[in-house]
């Protein structure tokens, strides 16, 4: 579009991307600071991978304590896995129900979506209060787990709603009219068709749960998850080992994204191959 605004807006866009990415770039550069005396700021005394080795306990002990990530990482992965499976199942079921009109559908819709709107600190506080009143022990696999699903289930639900919305119903109806049971129809017809959506819902749920902090803070009790462990180190002086950890956790996220991309491509390719065999 021709307008005198075009070039100023482009310049603004570039500045915006710098604003968005500069902190992460600086963090990435500073993760290669020399150690253990190099601080979390410029200038780089000497380029080194000291803080990465520090993260894995590969350096002699110094006054900088190693990040206690080992057990909390395992907990976070387990929690994200549990949350992923549960919220995807709940999301598929609820979205399946929304394929036909029913009374109170508006109320149910808002009840589900509320889970992603209410701030984590309030959800965490409420669940902690309820658990205390009922005399239940708070733990990452219990109270944190239900809090995480509250948050990721709405995302899974909305993704599946969008998928079912573009879904050709006639295939299912053909199966039913041939006498195939609804459950078998779902397994052999519906599920393969909605699989890309299921994959996206799983990706959302896993990453949101893995990184979730505010919903976890009041609900874990003693054994902490990864974000809580990281948060604990902010209170004291920070060291470049946090930066090195940031780089690694970002790489982990991107490898998840890559796995998702590969599975998605395979799923689409498989769908196309089936379609070709059927001569559609």
């Amino acid at each position: 579009m021709q307008s005198p605004l075009r070039w100023p807006l482009l310049a603004f866009m570039v500045l915006f991307l710098i604003f968005l990415y500069a902190p992460l770039g600086v963090l990435g550069v500073l993760s290669f600071q020399s150690g253990p005396e190099g601080g979390p700021q410029f200038p780089i005394v000497e380029w080194s991978t000291y803080w990465y080795r520090h993260l894995f306990g590969q350096v002699p002990p110094t006054r900088v304590a190693p990040l206690p990530i080992g057990p909390s990482l395992l907990r976070s992965l387990a929690l994200a896995g549990m949350t992923m499976v549960t919220s995807t199942v709940l999301g598929v079921l609820a979205a399946q129900a929304f394929r036909r009109r029913f009374r109170f559908s508006g109320a149910v819709f808002y009840l589900i979506v509320l889970g992603m709107i209410v701030p984590g600190v309030l959800v965490g506080l409420g669940i902690a209060l309820l658990a205390n009143a009922l005399g239940l022990e708070r733990a990452w696999w219990g109270t944190s787990f239900v809090a995480h699903v509250l948050y990721t289930f709405p995302f899974a639900f909305l993704v599946m709603l969008a998928i079912f919305n573009r879904f050709d119903r006639s295939v299912e109806e053909a199966a039913w009219s041939l006498g195939v049971t609804p459950l078998r129809t779902f397994r052999t017809i519906t599920l393969p068709l909605i699989f890309p959506g299921v994959l996206s819902a799983m990706l959302f749920a896993f990453t949101l749960s893995y990184d979730e902090f505010s919903r976890t803070l009041f609900t874990t009790g003693g054994a902490q998850t990864l974000p809580l462990t990281i948060y604990g180190t902010f209170a004291v002086e920070i060291h470049p080992n946090i930066f090195a950890f940031g780089v690694l956790t970002t790489l982990f996220s991107f490898s998840l994204l890559t796995v998702y991309g590969i599975l998605m491509t395979l799923s689409v390719r498989r769908g196309r191959r089936v379609a070709m065999q059927e001569g559609i």
Binding site: M13, Q41, I112, V121, G126, L129, L130, N165, F213, S214
Partner: protein, 305 residues
């Protein structure tokens, strides 16, 4: 929260193909499919929030709470300078951050949504906005520390450009650093909805306005701005709810100097003052409800989206 299920396109046609005789059985199926999700949300979201309201009227002793109803926690909130101060700080930082995300996000959305008409480039730019979310939230927050400190990247850059003689010290561990951090993290929630609304504007509409002699300032004000308003409202709701419930960014970037209501909740829970924490939680919920309801008055989202 806008896309109401009834308004999804194509549903009418789909449902119309189903004759009513099997309706009763299908009602049961629908109920069974919904039950797990609805029960989950009721037990673990609605019940805890009601519990929070209930506990806010409990009696707080030094280390415990007792289910004896009283108004004393509420009275304490409205007579405590610390709490009221946190309330004002929360409202002030919320308004400033909202204004900042709008001021920064709107031109970006304008560019992506209206000036980039190539779908591929549009997608690339939107993905570029979302990619930082693949880093841990806490890491994104703490990444501002080496940027803003007196020996930080911003000060070094400004000194190299001979724009400053002395490092600027108000950049870190102040209210400003909290606002900068929050703006960077939440601005994308403003860009997305606005860019979405703008990308649906017909270019011919703007052509027509120009042919009729409207200048760009006028087109912006009378055509583009009104059409993007639903996007602004959705973005403002996202940003408001997230900023009002924040506590991690102030804790990490203000050196515990800036205390939002969220931070007070964390401190109170830390010292087992559950009833006080519940009062603040209820206050925060009420503020959010008022803000969201107020924003929704601007546009009828069900109609617009």
């Amino acid at each position: 929260m806008s896309a109401a299920p009834q308004s999804l396109p194509g549903n009418e046609a789909l449902f119309a193909t189903h004759p009513p005789p099997r309706a009763r059985r299908r009602d049961w199926v629908t109920a069974a499919l919904l039950a797990p999700g609805v029960i989950w949300m009721t037990l673990f979201l609605v019940a805890p929030l009601l519990m929070m309201l209930y506990v806010s009227f409990w009696t707080q002793t030094t280390f415990a709470i007792k289910p004896v109803l009283t108004l004393s926690s509420w009275k304490f909130f409205f007579s405590s300078a610390t709490y009221l101060d946190a309330l004002w700080t929360t409202l002030r930082i919320w308004l400033i951050t909202l204004a900042a995300t709008l001021a920064i996000g709107y031109p970006v959305a304008l560019y992506i949504g209206l000036f980039v008409r190539n779908k591929t480039i549009q997608t690339i730019l939107l993905v570029a906005c979302v990619v930082p979310f693949w880093t841990s939230f806490l890491i994104r927050v703490v990444a501002w520390r080496p940027m803003l400190g007196t020996e930080g990247a911003v000060n070094i850059l400004l000194a190299r450009l001979h724009l400053i003689d002395h490092p600027i010290s108000v950049l870190l561990f102040t209210e400003l650093s909290v606002i900068i951090g929050m703006t960077q993290i939440y601005v994308v929630f403003m860009v997305g909805p606005i860019a979405f609304m703008l990308s649906r504007v017909e270019p011919s509409l703007i052509e027509a306005a120009r042919d009729l002699g409207a200048g760009w300032a006028r087109i912006l004000r009378t055509v583009i701005l009104p059409l993007s308003l639903p996007g602004v409202v959705v973005g403002a709701i996202f940003v408001s709810v997230m900023v009002l419930g924040e506590f991690a960014t102030p804790a990490a970037l203000s050196g515990r100097k800036v205390n939002l209501l969220g931070n007070i909740i964390v401190t109170q829970v830390g010292s087992l003052k559950w009833a006080f924490a519940a009062v603040i939680g209820v206050v925060l919920t009420l503020i959010m409800a008022v803000v969201v309801a107020g924003l929704l008055r601007f546009v009828d989202l069900r109609r617009e989206l």
